[in-house]
Symmetry: C2
Subunit: 126 residues, 2 copies
DNA sequence: CGTTGACTTTGAGTTAACTCTAAGTTGTAT
DNA sequence: ATACAACTTAGAGTTAACTCAAAGTCAACG
């Protein structure tokens, strides 16, 4: 009915071993299994994978994802804590974004100097 | 005349060991030394440290910084290559920034859902 | 002149996040 | 039925980037 680990692996370009690792480590909840114990990813399972991929791509730690899932499993009593956790992570990403913009500007400046050097045949200053 | 390793370490909040590591690995050029061989960071040395810190904070690999310095040392004949290297790194950062923005949006959405849940006492949907 | 504290080097150890191996089981195609 | 690929697990190995330890040198202060 759902997707095999291989299909999920290909769809999201995440190695099957990494998907198993995420499950075992508690980054995503236990995946639905067939009668014979084979992983059979439901839409919900897939949504967790997609979320993990997105968060990891932005640099959130495995640890914070594990902590989030732990709180999630505990139910409604952890809503405030979960919100706090996400806010903290959001703040980290905002800071990262600022750093990134700063560095991109520096690179742009250096690149334009090199472009100028290539046109005129020499660096304008060092 | 210049700064000691400790002063640079404190000014940029980089452990002294890491400064030595950067120098040894070729992330920054060999630092000016006193007659007795002690590091005595000149303004130029410090500019390299500052640059390394900025690039690393944005996520550039040590390897790419080493490669850049290698080209830099070779002189003007590598200007095109250096420009290419910086452009590639810039493109990586642009992509990272996009990913970051996407993830921040997702987090903002989730956070607003939790805030709503905290006000109304329950999650509006799952 | 001795000791203190910052410096030096080489090289081993740590951490996060995978990534792979080995050994074994199962579903499917001939 | 039999072979073969894809699955399973536990656990060891890898990589990047530090991070620390050990052993030794050196300038300056009391």
């Amino acid at each position: 009915m759902g997707l095999t680990i291989k299909q999920v692996s290909e769809k999201y370009n995440i190695p099957a071993n990494t998907l198993r690792y995420y499950e075992k480590a508690g980054v995503i909840p236990p995946v639905t299994r067939t009668a014979s114990g084979i992983r059979d990813y439901s839409e919900e399972d897939i949504a967790w994978v997609e979320n993990a991929k997105c968060m990891r791509a932005a640099g959130l730690s495995i640890e914070s994802l594990i902590e989030y899932l732990r709180l999630y499993k505990e139910g409604d009593s952890t809503i405030r804590e979960r919100k706090e956790l996400l806010s903290q992570q959001r703040d980290l990403l905002i800071a990262q974004k600022k750093q990134l913009e700063e560095t991109i500007n520096k690179l742009d400046y250096k690149i334009s100097r090199y472009e100028n050097a290539l046109k005129t045949g020499k660096l304008t200053w060092e």
